[in-house]
Symmetry: C2
Subunit: 263 residues, 2 copies
Amino acid sequence: MQTLHIVKIGGNIIDEAVALDAFLESFSAIKGNKILVHGGGKMATDLGHALGIPQQLVDGRRITDAETLKVTVMVYAGLINKTIVSKLQSFGCNAFGLSGADGNLLTATRRLHAQIDFGWVGDITVENVNTNLLQMLLDSGFVPVISPVTHDGNGHLLNTNADTIASVISSALASDYAVKLTYCFEKNGVLRDVNDEDSIMPFLKKEEYLQLKHEGIISKGMIPKLDNAFNALDAGIAQLTICHAKHLKSCETKGIGTYLIKS
Amino acid sequence: MQTLHIVKIGGNIIDEAVALDAFLESFSAIKGNKILVHGGGKMATDLGHALGIPQQLVDGRRITDAETLKVTVMVYAGLINKTIVSKLQSFGCNAFGLSGADGNLLTATRRLHAQIDFGWVGDITVENVNTNLLQMLLDSGFVPVISPVTHDGNGHLLNTNADTIASVISSALASDYAVKLTYCFEKNGVLRDVNDEDSIMPFLKKEEYLQLKHEGIISKGMIPKLDNAFNALDAGIAQLTICHAKHLKSCETKGIGTYLIKS
């Protein structure tokens, strides 16, 4: 079975041109089949503010109204995606940018919630991934670069969480490839103490994660990320690492970052 | 030789949601291999204004500085491209959006001019088209939807004229397909009198065009469009029509619009 590297890069790195360039150079150096999934960053928030579009938060969660969706599509599927693709091309990596609408890569279901109208937010499962399209691109030597924008099949674009996209795509391809999924972000890995960059856990088992979550030691933004990550492990991917974007090159060889372990 | 329909849709139609939907439905109904190339429209100008980015014109020509390029990429390769793709998908057309950077579809040369710095504007020729990629997508049943953004191969995105992209792609594929190129815009065709929508020329020969251009009867924006169009005819494409976007369906069958004739 061929290896497939799937790397997710988060928003905070995307906002810093120098860090992003260094990351993309490391990503380019990965040999063989690979896919990059990217998040958003604060560029969309900044653009929304500049255009006077009010940011609506309900229970701490962002609402994607029609105007915010436009901003999201412009920034994520447009500026960020094409900037990354052209940079990767300059590093000799045959990148190919896609949103979920392109070639029907990712259909999503608009999120329905009894109390909160999240707006144009889409949820996806393994069944929503067009694995044939990804295989065709990989077999042809392309490197898919996927933005966190999906569609509902009825002509509407949807805003979808990039961590979830990386997890679901990895899961969907787990029977065809030995998938090595790496979540890259601005921390050194999963930390025991969020204020201590050295408190990195080299390994994290699922039972341990559930316990640390229960104790409140792992909290906030790490919870959906780790839930997504363990879902992919449960679906049978070969390896899962969470590491700092600047360590992408070495996390494969030296064991930097946190390795997640199914059981 | 298989037929390939290449359709260019201009900015003024893109700005009107109802007209755009009707056009996309007509485009979806075209059978067989097809490619859509889209322009920009005033959305990018409006966004530039809203963000307070000064619009620089030198000798009547727009300058694409770094901030304007970002707006162009957001609007053309992001919002317009993905909106069109998701709409086409809802009409059962397996659309696949691309900029010139994606899969290295279109490399361009930054425009150099002795007196004017046009900024991030790219020029292309037939040699810049990745015909293998387009053939792969067409053979796999996808409908490429191409935005007027290219790249220089050194990590820079470039703003490129959509009429030129349609012409150059048509020319590059002329030896592999019987290419039927249609320029759709907000006029009924090439008009003898720009103020009289009924003064349409059903046929236009190249000599006649050169004479009308010389006499100033055909002028302004029509000149680059027609120069691009005749270039594609010279390169050996099978058919070239210029028509109103609302007549896309009937221009193939009823001879509505202007047919260009090489000689």
